[in-house]
């Protein structure tokens, strides 16, 4: 098991290096090159040359890449041309918001999607099965920003049940040692703040979690159907076990294996959705930060955002692979 984890960790290194190369190439394909990208299109020739010298852009590409890689490893992502602050500082401030939202969305997707898919499979071709299949198809057909807008309109504007924007009521004061507001509220022991934070979390999390929910439900259903026809389930029934035990111990445990993999694959989708969801709900995360940067052509920030998202994808896949190994003895012992 330990060996497997080490091997899996080592495997991520070439991926990270490759990704950094991809981003490096991306920055250099920006219109006019990174100099113009940083200074804006109206920059003079002299100032462009000056900044390119400053950034080492006059050096050969190989040494540029090593410098860039060195900066990346040290966590130096350059500075924003809008705020003049280091990109890393802003990223550290903002990423908890995105992670908190993504986590809540995934929690919603799994908590609803897995039971839904499971029950659908148990009622194969019944009403509930067909309804959930069709429902999940509708779910994946919604552009996420449109769903977010509708949710906001119905539950925040029309019904007034939930707040429509932000992470917390503006007038409320709460210390932010971690910037994960849920954790901050828990640390402060402030129940009112916690309720407020959770209320703000509900709509964005549902908007963001709906597509993963649909996909997870479908995969759970398919996996459960597969497992239900497995010989070992028949063996379990032949032992006279109670149906509940057969379901939990023999069916669900095996059916969840592919679901875990899919949850990993959904992270990318989730982060994608975060860009749009955060925009709709004015959520101060990495997504809305990137959108602002795109409109301001703030390339250092865009690069930082992409590096962050890719990093999260790599890390989640790592976590998923390792937990998969814990669940599946065939991998653990090979």
């Amino acid at each position: 098991m330990f060996k497997y984890i080490v091997r899996r960790l080592l495997l991520t290194i070439p991926i990270l290096i490759g990704l950094s190369f991809l981003v490096f190439v991306f920055v250099r394909t920006l219109p006019g090159g990174p100099g113009i990208a940083l200074l804006g299109e109206r920059a003079t020739e002299e100032s462009r040359e000056a900044i390119e010298r400053e950034l080492g852009l006059d050096k050969p590409l190989v040494s540029q890449y090593t410098t860039y890689l060195g900066n990346l490893v040290r966590g130096d992502l350059g500075s924003s041309i809008v705020t003049r602050r280091p990109v890393m500082d802003e990223l550290l401030e903002r990423f908890p918001a995105t992670v908190e939202l993504g986590f809540a969305a995934m929690l919603f997707a799994v908590a609803v999607g897995v039971p839904l898919g499971y029950v659908a499979a148990k009622r194969y071709q019944g009403f509930l099965d067909n309804a959930s299949l069709f429902g999940s198809l509708i779910g994946i057909s919604f552009p996420i920003f449109f769903l977010a807008l509708i949710l906001k309109y119905v539950f925040a504007v029309k019904l007034g049940w939930l707040p429509s924007i932000g992470r917390m009521t503006v007038t409320r004061s709460l210390e932010h040692p971690t910037n994960f507001y849920v954790i901050d509220a828990l640390v402060a022991g402030d129940v009112a703040a916690l309720t407020d934070v959770l209320k703000h979390l509900i709509l964005p999390a549902i908007a963001l979690g709906t597509i993963p929910l649909a996909i997870i439900a479908r995969i759970t259903r398919a996996a459960t159907l597969d497992v239900l026809s497995e010989d070992y389930v028949r063996t379990a029934r032949a032992k006279g076990l109670d149906p509940g035990i057969v379901d939990r111990r023999h069916v669900l445990r095996n059916a969840l294996l592919p679901v875990v993999t899919v949850i990993g694959l959904q992270t990318g989708l989730l982060l994608t959705g975060a860009v749009l969801t955060e925009t709709v709900f004015a959520w101060n995360g990495v997504g809305s930060w990137m959108v602002n940067a795109i409109n301001a052509r703030d390339f250092a920030v865009i690069q930082g955002g992409i590096v962050f998202f890719a990093f999260i994808v790599v890390v989640t896949n790592l976590i998923v692979d390792i937990s998969y190994a814990f669940l599946n003895p065939r991998i653990r012992y090979s």
Binding site: L22, P31, P143, I144, F145, I150, V157, L276, I294, V313
Partner: protein, 298 residues
Amino acid sequence: MSVAEAEAAELSLEDQSGLWRDAFERLRRNPGAIAGALIIVAFAAVAVFAPALAPHGPNQQVGRLAAVPPGPSAEFPLGLDQQGRDVLSRIIFGARLSLLVGVVSAGVGLTIGMVLGSVAGYFGRWVDTAVMRTMDLMLAVPQFLLALAIVTALGPGLVQIMVAVGIANVPQFARLLRGSILAQREADYVLAARSLGAPGRRLLLAHILPNSIAPVIVQGTLAMATAIIDVAGLSFLGLGPADPRLTEWGKMVAENAGRLESAPHLVLFPGFAIVISVLGLNLIGDGLREALDPKLKS
């Protein structure tokens, strides 16, 4: 063509037509797929015959300028926008761009992906390694973000958006084709044809690629659905077609997102146009997958 080749080709063709006939039968019995097909045919017809179907031009001012434009009425079934243009007509003309964008983006991804995947799968060795590792890297970046990054590099605009979404689709198709080719290369009928002396390149074109078509069609349909959603998303972020005369559903939603309270029809109608067209594609894609691969029930 030698006799042996001809026979081998005929064999696989027979397989094929049987497969397609069966698939068509299964498709016809699937109400979802039929509904999907009807939706897409309807939308395509609307796109093609937009000038004949739309009561007004997409940019024609038929009502008064208004901060809070009127909603649906007998005269304008889907209401007017704040510039006095007929929403129904704009949605009808918008179908052209949205469907075009879906087809072109998926087509770009499919073409490049198929070429890369076939090359990787057919040549193997370092070509395979180089191509597939690059694809893996691209897959590590979420598809929409990849498209977002590419649009940022290319600048906003209709063509840029289609290229960006298309390129973001490449890795999926490349993987699919390569996997399929690797599997087919070892398939019995290919081994049989090879043992009969059919040359390698012809094998790829005559046997391997046609047999990989089924999953590509499924993936292509679903990629069109994703492309429409992604393009709408990019439009929503302000990276869509810059030309104000171009009508696109995502842009219509984006431009009016702030008027959801005062004039919900401006957001809801184009939004649901996207949902329904994407649902149609997903229904077909799902039906096709089930029809072409009965083992896959998901």
